[in-house]
């Protein structure tokens, strides 16, 4: 067991980083918005952390700075984005990521162009990442049970109905988009701390596909959805026996198949299963009581 853990240390660490990115996608999907802005903040915080790291800024300060910057930019983007609806909002977030991609590739003096920034110290190990994931997951689970979380839950089911009971859609979306930006920034920063590098690939199309694979596969029914999604995504290369270059294709197929056949994702299936078990237990309890009722 111990040697197994040591052997797959990198994979497990990366899985925890992916989980936070998945959380970031998840909080915004839950309010019925398809946004890829998370990847933008993942990139901004990643490059910010990598650049700051070159000047030996203390890691905790870098995390704080990354959270501050992505929070502020996230709020600004959210204020712009909530004026739009549905697909237009999606379009703006994609444009945001595409623009960042152009900036990263062209601003070579700072970002290192397509090569990126290499050879940074590793600041966080697998256990540190696990701790961060647990803290974030617990906070998210509490948030979901709280007033805001329940309000956002209702948005996913029926926007009109939610509005009719006095839930402010605009405000909930701003909250969710900002929270998503914070988590995306945190994930991007931790990614650099774990791998010790930031490359231009991390802004590109394949991160968008990764992030979508996680949330679609895991589903947005509950906080453990993205956890499942990230766990599967991290182990996908190990599970697939064939070469890495077909990974994107496999993920693409997964996204389409899950959307068509199980739109609720893994978390939705688990919830339905749990509900089914609960219903069965209830009915079996009823059956056991029935004869007593008759005899009485």
């Amino acid at each position: 067991m111990i040697s197994w853990l040591a052997y797959y240390d990198d994979v497990i660490g990366h899985m925890f980083v992916l989980m936070i990115l998945a959380f970031s996608m998840y909080v915004v999907m839950r309010v019925g918005v398809f946004s890829v802005a998370s990847i933008g903040f993942w990139a901004i915080a990643g490059y910010g952390a990598a650049i700051a790291d070159q000047y030996d800024v203390p890691p905790l300060l870098i995390v704080g700075g990354a959270l501050l910057v992505s929070g502020v930019f996230g709020l600004l983007l959210a204020l712009l984005a909530v004026r739009l609806s549905g697909l237009s909002l999606t379009m703006v977030t994609i444009a945001f990521v595409l623009l960042l991609q152009v900036i990263v590739l062209n601003w070579e003096d700072v970002t290192g162009g397509s090569l990126g920034i290499f050879g940074l110290p590793v600041h966080i190990g697998t256990y540190g990442l696990l701790a961060v994931v647990i803290v974030v997951a617990v906070l998210l689970a509490l948030y979901e049970r709280g007033r805001t979380g329940r309000a956002q839950d209702s948005l996913l089911h029926d926007e009109q109905l939610a509005q009719s009971v006095g839930i402010d859609i605009r405000r909930q979306r701003i909250v969710a988009l900002t929270l998503s930006a914070l988590l995306g920034g945190l994930a991007g920063c931790l990614n650099v701390f774990q791998t010790g590098m930031m490359v231009s690939n991390e802004v590109g199309f394949h991160v968008v596909v990764d992030a979508l694979t996680m949330v679609i596969l895991g589903g947005t029914a509950a906080w453990y959805g993205p956890v499942i999604g990230a766990a599967i995504l991290a182990w996908l290369p190990q599970m697939l026996s064939f070469a890495d270059e077909w990974r994107l294709a496999v993920q693409g197929v997964i996204i389409v198949v899950v959307l068509v056949f199980a739109p609720q994702g893994a978390a939705g299936l688990i919830q339905r299963l749990a509900r089914g078990v609960a219903a069965k237990r209830r009915s079996s309890l009823l059956k056991r009581r029935e004869p007593q009722d008759v005899s009485a």
Binding site: G32, V33, F34, L80, R83, L84, G86, L87, S88, T90, M91, V92, I94, A95, F96, L98, L99, V102, N106, F205, H206, V208, V209, L212, I216, E245, W246, R247, L248, A249, Q251, G252, V253, I254, I255, V256, L259, V260, P263
Partner: protein, 296 residues
């Protein structure tokens, strides 16, 4: 000076060929096809594959590639969009899953292209089409450039007139407003969706082939950068409007050429993003867009 004009015309024509289909499928069917860039690339790639099987002139290769790219989008409609639409509670609820599914399809296409090209840039064979310089009305333009402009304007005008005048075009307007009412009137949403998707893909494929001859190169990610431009064009022209997309395409191209000339090459890709943000701040519904019932 006339050189800049020619550049802007060619660039605008590529944008028009790319965007008209994207805008049409969004406006009428609510499909934000994020695989549109990959379809553009697939057109060029299929031309490469066809010509590598045997030397053929462009007059044969271009229609064949348009058939392939149109067919690919029809396949997307059948495999992904239609099942999602059928399952969704209402047309609006299907929009986000369909957009996400299109990312999945795009991922498959990009993975295929990346494997086929082994990550390199390819160029189409010279004997398919010999590029030379010609003179029209005192303007010096390559023959492929002239062909791009002719195709873009010809196809856009033909499509615009078809949608405005024909019976099918009017049926499209009906389903753009309300597909349910369209069904009551005996309009088959599914059949029109197939036609719209095919046209959208064929136009993108046409653009892809001509563009890859124009720049003498093609690679797996060639369509991604165009997506940002297409969003700017749609924001200017209004969602679903063919004339709007055509006008927006040339406006954006002119603005980009102007920015490159007056500021520098680095500004080229920023123009589109600035345009998106400024217009959406001032007029969230788009510059030329009308109300939904006036669309298309």
């Amino acid at each position: 000076m006339s050189g800049y004009f020619v550049d802007a015309m060619i660039l605008g024509s590529i944008y028009a060929l790319f965007t008209v289909g994207l805008s049409l499928s969004w406006g009428i069917l609510g499909v934000l096809n994020l695989a549109h860039g990959s379809i553009f690339m697939a057109g060029a790639l299929s031309a490469y594959m066809i010509t590598s099987a045997g030397a053929l002139p462009l007059a044969v290769v271009l229609p064949a590639s348009m058939l392939v790219s149109g067919g690919l989008v029809v396949l997307m409609e059948l495999v992904a969009f239609r099942p999602i639409r059928r399952r969704a509670a209402n047309p609006l609820a299907a929009e986000l899953p369909m957009a996400i599914a299109s990312v999945g399809v795009s991922s498959v296409l990009v993975a295929f292209a990346n494997n086929f090209t082994a990550g390199y840039s390819l160029s189409l064979p010279q004997d398919m089409f010999t590029v030379s310089s010609i003179n029209i009305l005192g303007l010096t333009i390559t023959n492929i450039g002239a062909l791009i402009v002719v195709f873009a304007i010809g196809l856009t005008v033909a499509l615009g007139l078809y949608v405005a005048r024909s019976r099918q075009g009017r049926a499209l307007k009906v389903i753009a407003q309300d597909s349910y009412v369209g069904g009551l009137l005996g309009i088959s949403m599914n059949r029109l969706a197939l036609g719209t998707m095919f046209i959208s893909g064929a136009l993108a494929g046409c653009g892809g082939v001509l563009f890859s001859i124009h720049v003498n190169s093609m690679h797996a990610y060639m369509g991604e950068a165009l997506l940002l431009k297409a969003f700017a064009v749609i924001v200017v022209g209004g969602i679903g409007s063919i004339w709007g997309a055509a006008i927006g395409a040339y406006v954006l191209a002119a603005a980009e050429v102007l920015a490159v000339v007056s500021v520098g090459v680095g500004m080229r890709d920023v123009v589109a993003f600035v345009l998106i943000i400024v217009i959406l701040l001032a007029r969230p519904q788009g510059l030329l867009s009308k109300r939904k019932w006036q669309r298309s």
